[in-house]
Amino acid sequence: MPNPTYIILILLLPLASFLLMGLFGRSYIKNASGLISTAMLFVATCLAFYVAYGYFFEYGNVNGVYQKLIPFKYTWLEFSKGVSIDMGILLDPITAMMLVVVTLISLMVHIYSLGYMKGEERFATYYSFLGLFTFSMLGLVIASNIFQIYIFWELVGVSSFLLIGYYFEKPSAVAACKKAFIVTRFADLGFLIGILILSFYAGTLDFNTLIQRLTSPESMEFKTAVASSFLGISALTWGMVLVFVGGAGKSAMFPLHIWLPDAMEGPTPVSALIHAATMVVAGVFLVARLFPVFALSTPDALHIVAYVGATSALIAAIIACTQTDIKRVLAFSTMSQIGFMMFALGVSKYGGEEGLGYTASMFHLFTHALFKALLFLGAGAVIHFVHSNDMNDMGGLRKHLPITHATFLIACLAISGVPPFAGFFSKEEILLAAFQHNPTIYWIALLTSGLTAFYMFRLYFSIFWNKEYHPHGEHHGEGGFAMMMPLVLLAVGAAAAGFIPFGKFVSSDGKALISEFHLQFSIAPVALGLVGILTALLLYKKQNSKPDTIASSLNALYKAAYHKFYIDELYLFITKKILFNLVGRPAAWFDKNVVDGMVNATGNSTQTISEKIKGFQSGKVQEYAIYFLAGATALAVCGIYLWK
């Protein structure tokens, strides 16, 4: 068995960094705060690698099956026998993988921020928030209890709120952080109800027991959960769908994705953290965590996962082609890639060869974390240089930012699925899984991967080629060592991570899954990707009027995509016009008139009555004596009369 102390330390180091920087950072260790946090996270990362190595190569594998180990468990709140909120560690392949991903990406972001956030007024606060964010995500991935995951889930929400609203002087950042918090919080309501339904029927909150009870058709819990239904759908399916709603909110799946593009208001390294390792992959992780229940007991809910994922992937890719803010393009590409992971889970089955989608999804999560972090950090370096987010202000930067250029190109190739970069292998597996199980989704995915290549290279050419860049004013060149080192490390990862035999380590049932490489199968997506890249090359390598011509010829579609298909407006219409008018106003009226009215009436009547009878307190002693005598006499008369 693994030593739980190390895993707890991985968790506690970012927490300690949060507390230390939050309490003392601003006043005592302002300038050193970044280095101290980074050093703490470095230790956590080393421990995470050590734990993952131990799990994958030493004790995790028993007779060819990776076990679900519980090295530590503390019963925290016990409601009744079997139902308790525990604080525990569940160590299985995806946990071990996520520990590495989260700490690694977070470490890269910490190092990068040393350069990027240098000289910020609230430098220490920034690092304390980063620590909290990392801590919450790590807590989420190790959770052994569905309620524990919910606690850390909400912590992730809070820390993303804090980081997105980091520049709180800007009204747009305030609006963005509120939006992110409210939208995800709204989705979390679904998650909470889902937890309650599942735990009510399973009679436990513990993951292993819950999964085991809800997947075995003979168990009592499974039978009742399937037998009881609401609106013609079984309670179990409802529970899983509601849990997925929570996951969709955090993972920015259509139609709950509206917070993600706005979340770009935070500092760029934070976007890297949100998009690559924490927050948005939480939803995928949750579905993966409950995957046996999804796959074995509620295939309908899994279909919803698949179609929501595919829709999000396609819509986000279309929108990304039209945006001009580079961070927004990346945001939509994240949404699209998360959509890939979701539908990969959605088309997967449990166990053996059929579980390819699960492995592919986790693989894509892993590789995506590397290249998306790289893209965001690269974009950060570009923004640092140009002081603008808009593509139109950029162009020709390859001569000014050679390292950024090279690493960004690697990331773009990786996300476009060009062999032999990391994205190629994971995307291939996803497409293969979709091809085997759901042709509709396969075609959507194929189209999306072509679009991905197009919009990524549109971004790349617009930033680094297109026109000549004429630096104006002071010029500080490429960022320092702190900013370049993470880029290079991540670029190495994005280039090489694809060669990891992922199926050997992570699969739906723990047994090694050897995925074969089909050359003829990968021709289509790679060719489509190359077509996308070539199109982008033709349109954006040199400044010309072709893109505008195409945009105007696609008038309505282009406009709709540019405005993100008016989904934000739709939400505003629903909330402002319908909810506020039909629910908000009547509720306000009821509150003002009925609730307040009752309180006021009590107060008013008390006042009127006391106004009338206050004359009794005249201040004249003899009057009081008369009342007293009258009372005593009355009592005496009563007493005599009743005594008789």
């Binding site: 004359g615 307190q617 005249s618 201040g619 003899q622 004596a625």
Partner: protein, 104 residues
Amino acid sequence: MMQPGLYHILFISAALFFIGVFGFFTRRNLITMLMSVELILNSVNLNFIAFNKYLWADKLDGLFFTIFVIAIAAAEAAIAIAIIINLSRNFQSIDVEKTDEMKF
């Protein structure tokens, strides 16, 4: 000479009581009101003594009570006079009608 019976004494005590009550309500002078209160207390004392003597001549409870009442009346008189002195210093009067500031 006729020995006075219980009823005679009760009659006197009742008369004293109501004289005291009447005085308490009608006088405006605080000293007079205090005297009326003393009358009421003494009527009660008379009752105690009378019942003790005529009904339970072998016991002393009524007498003890009377002594208590006298002691408390003395204390009460001391306090009342202190209050009256303070009033007369603040209001230059001991008319109970004029000391009606403690009202709503």
